[in-house]
């Protein structure tokens, strides 16, 4: 008797769940088809954006709605770890999301991105504010999204440690070899009191960066420019001036907590670290002084040559209100939106003198030399094509890099293996259909 009741209860629960799903879908469908008819002027849009950007989008939207009172935008987010996974599932099940934020390359293979070239022409948008980024974002000669912000690499350093060691601060124009020597000079102590000259997060970017700085791309046929960077990371590990890869992995060491701990002299990481350090400062978690300088560069490459990843806003091809959606996109990615993002400390895709000034601020906030960020010559961190990030950066480069870092392969073997796997696991599938418009 007990068992059958149990069944009835679970059964009804299951049915209830089903019914629940069904009915919500119905109402959401109704809302969308009914509301434009009911209030002709009002248009409701839905946008899904990255968690870190949600607040800024909302405040920028407040500005936007003053100009466009008839366009309602509901901003939503998904936690970082599942962002792309879940958003893709939502989009593939046909959910009404008009605007999508994030790394454009993740959505290219879905075919749901609306090409924006016609809109840009029609609205006569001045794209010079995006600089070379505008062209490098093109895929198959089309624009599928515009960047509202970007992540650039920089070298953070702990001024207090340099003062204590009586060593001159890192120079704005520094080669990788000079960086290595400086890191050696700053390394001292043992065990718990150890001071590391530098911290290189276990991402593949921290070593393949050196190749990209010379203009190479991680999908190139010839990957020899990347050997140096991998060897360099291993050499620094041998020097003892950075935390070893094995220790980083097993202690889940993180660039943010590592640098905040105060025993890392130089931290090679992205501009978002500025916000993390500012927050730590307001929460009184750190007491040392810090600043930024351009990332070190290979011999023969101009100083302040860095890597950048644009974060874009895109329009869903299946949106019922593409015109209005583009209006929002135009605002957010253009000068007006950029002002809002720059004021919050984000590097923006669109840049002009006014935005540069807002970003740099009045000097009351650290870092003192934040201006380096807006003076960078930048290469895309990886080609903005489908699969490159998930297959190549996060797997092939990471895995084979690890083989070298654990001495299971030599650097030559690892790079050779990467070349083979790029061909087999990525190029065979995507290289034919997608070409980046890199100039």
């Amino acid at each position: 008797m007990k068992k059958s009741w149990h069944l009835v209860v679970t059964g009804t629960l299951a049915m209830g769940l089903l019914a629940g799903c069904g009915s919500t879908q119905q109402t959401s469908g109704e809302k969308n088809s009914a509301s434009p008819a009911a209030k002709t002027a009002q248009v409701n849009l839905k946008a899904t954006v990255l968690t870190d950007d949600l607040e800024t989008f909302k405040s920028a939207y407040a500005e936007f709605s003053k100009e466009n009172p008839t366009i309602q935008v509901q901003f939503e987010t998904i936690p970082q770890a599942q962002y792309y996974e879940k958003l893709r599932l939502q989009l593939s099940s046909g959910e009404d999301i008009d605007l999508v934020g994030g790394n454009m390359d993740v959505f290219l293979d879905t075919g749901i991105l609306e090409p924006l070239d016609d809109y840009i022409k029609k609205e006569n948008i001045d794209v010079s504010g995006y600089g070379p980024l505008y062209d490098s974002l093109k895929v198959n000669d089309k624009v599928y999204g515009l960047p509202y912000r970007k992540s650039n690499w920089m070298l953070f350093y702990n001024k207090t440690l340099f003062d204590q060691a009586n060593v001159a601060y890192p120079k704005a124009d520094m080669t990788w070899n000079e960086f290595r020597e400086l890191a050696k000079k700053m390394t001292k102590g043992e065990g718990a009191n150890k001071v590391y000259g530098a911290f290189l997060h276990p991402w593949a970017q921290t070593w393949y960066m050196q190749g990209v700085q010379t203009g190479a791309s991680i999908i190139d046929k010839d990957l020899t420019p990347f050997k140096k960077g991998l060897q360099f990371r291993m050499d620094m590990e041998k020097d003892g001036s950075i935390m070893g890869w094995a220790e980083q992995i097993t202690t889940s060491a993180h660039y943010n907590s590592a640098f905040q701990k105060g025993n890392v002299a130089m931290n090679l990481i992205g501009d978002w670290h500025v916000a993390q350090l500012r927050q730590a400062e307001t929460e009184k978690k750190i007491s040392f002084d810090w600043d930024v300088v351009p990332v070190p560069h290979p011999e023969g490459v101009a100083a302040n040559t860095s890597l950048a990843t644009p974060v874009s806003l895109m329009v869903n091809k299946n949106s019922k209100h593409k015109e209005e959606a583009f209006k929002v996109l135009q605002f957010m990615t253009g000068a007006k939106g950029a002002k809002q993002f720059a004021a919050k400390g984000f590097l923006t895709g669109y840049v002009n003198d006014e935005i540069r000034k807002i970003y740099i601020g009045d000097g009351s906030m650290k870092p003192k030399n934040i201006h380096f960020f807006v003076e960078q010559k930048e290469y895309p961190e990886y080609p903005l094509l489908p699969g490159v990030k998930n297959i190549l950066v996060n797997n092939v480069y990471k895995q084979e890099g690890e083989m070298a870092l654990t001495n299971a392969e030599t650097v030559d073997q690892a790079i050779q293996k990467i070349g083979q796997r790029v061909e087999k696991e990525w190029a065979d599938k995507y290289a034919k259909d997608f070409k980046a418009g890199k100039k």
Binding site: V8, T10, M15, L89, T250, I391, T406
Partner: protein
């Protein structure tokens, strides 16, 4: 006669009505996805646009997929090592803890505890234990005079073994409880009779305990193999398949293919190969069981 058959039918209808919600749930949430993914394994689909029929190409592609080959090999090694060791240790623990020794309950709980602890917590604790420089494992090894102990999870040679050790530790308790239940079910008089006949402890274990326990052993071998092939969470938290691809396992590869590469058809094909492997191994065991499993 008529009355009784009608009553029987009515009973049946009532019975099935009670079962209906569950059957519907099973059809919708289990049967349908299983069938759909089988069909999907013959297609190419990234979640958007048209589903392209791909014939057997997904299955053919598996043969030349190096990551899949590595994952398959890792899964086979994991199963080959962890299942026998887990079951052997579980049986020894069960026999030792079957007697009413002092504090037996504490030991039973201690061995069972890892099984009911969240995998994430288990993984985090083992990460600390495995720490090559500050971890207690290497601390002990160094004090025993080993100058260069392995770097465990950070070594391509040791990572798989490290994962296997955690998995064994994690699952012994579960199988021990099953064996304990089996041991309790063996009639005492068998041992008494054997003792009167002059059989020693070892011979009692071999000739009474093992045969009487054989149905449980059979069950645990099958479950052990299935669970071992299915391992995902432990790998995901401990190593993410690394370093390199040294702990890439089948289910992790399926996850990576479906949700990082967005190749649903290809991932389904992998899942069906996994299904086929488990099916074949289980069928072989069911055939072989007649020779050694004692159901009397």
């Amino acid at each position: 006669m008529k009355d009784s058959s009608r009553a029987l039918r009515r009973n049946r209808i009532t019975g099935y009505t009670f079962l209906l919600p569950n059957i519907i749930g099973f059809l919708i949430f289990i049967c349908f996805p299983v069938g759909a993914s089988f069909l999907m394994s013959f297609t190419e689909w990234n979640g958007f646009g048209d589903i392209e029929f791909a014939g057997l190409s997904n299955y053919i592609r598996l043969w030349s997929d190096e990551t899949f080959r590595i994952s398959l090999l890792n899964s086979l090694i994991m199963t080959g090592v962890s299942v026998p060791v887990t079951l052997l240790l579980a049986i020894l623990a069960a026999v030792a803890l079957n007697k009413g020794l002092r504090g037996v309950k504490i030991f039973r709980t201690a061995i069972f505890l890892p099984h009911i602890t969240a995998t994430i917590a288990v993984a985090v604790v083992w990460q600390l234990l495995y720490n090559p420089t500050m971890g207690p494992i290497n601390g002990m090894l160094r004090s025993l005079g080993i100058d260069h102990p392995p770097t465990w999870l950070a070594s391509t040679q040791w990572a798989l073994i490290s994962v296997i050790i955690v998995s064994i530790w994690h699952s012994i308790g579960y199988y021990m409880v099953l064996y304990l239940a089996g041991l309790q079910g063996i009639p005492k008089d068998l041992y008494e009779a054997a003792e009167i006949d002059g059989a020693g402890k070892v011979s009692q274990f071999r000739n009474i305990t093992l045969p009487m326990l054989s149905p449980v052993i059979f069950f645990t071998i099958i479950m052990g193999i299935i669970n071992s092939f299915k391992v995902f969470d432990l790998v995901f938290v401990l190593t993410k398949g690394g370093p390199g691809r040294s702990t890439h396992m089948l289910v992790y590869d399926i996850y990576y293919t479906a949700f990082q590469r967005f190749e649903y058809g290809y991932a389904s094909a992998m899942a069906y190969v996994l299904f086929a492997i488990i099916l074949v191994i289980t069928l072989i065991q069911f055939r072989g069981q007649k020779r050694w499993v004692n159901y009397s």
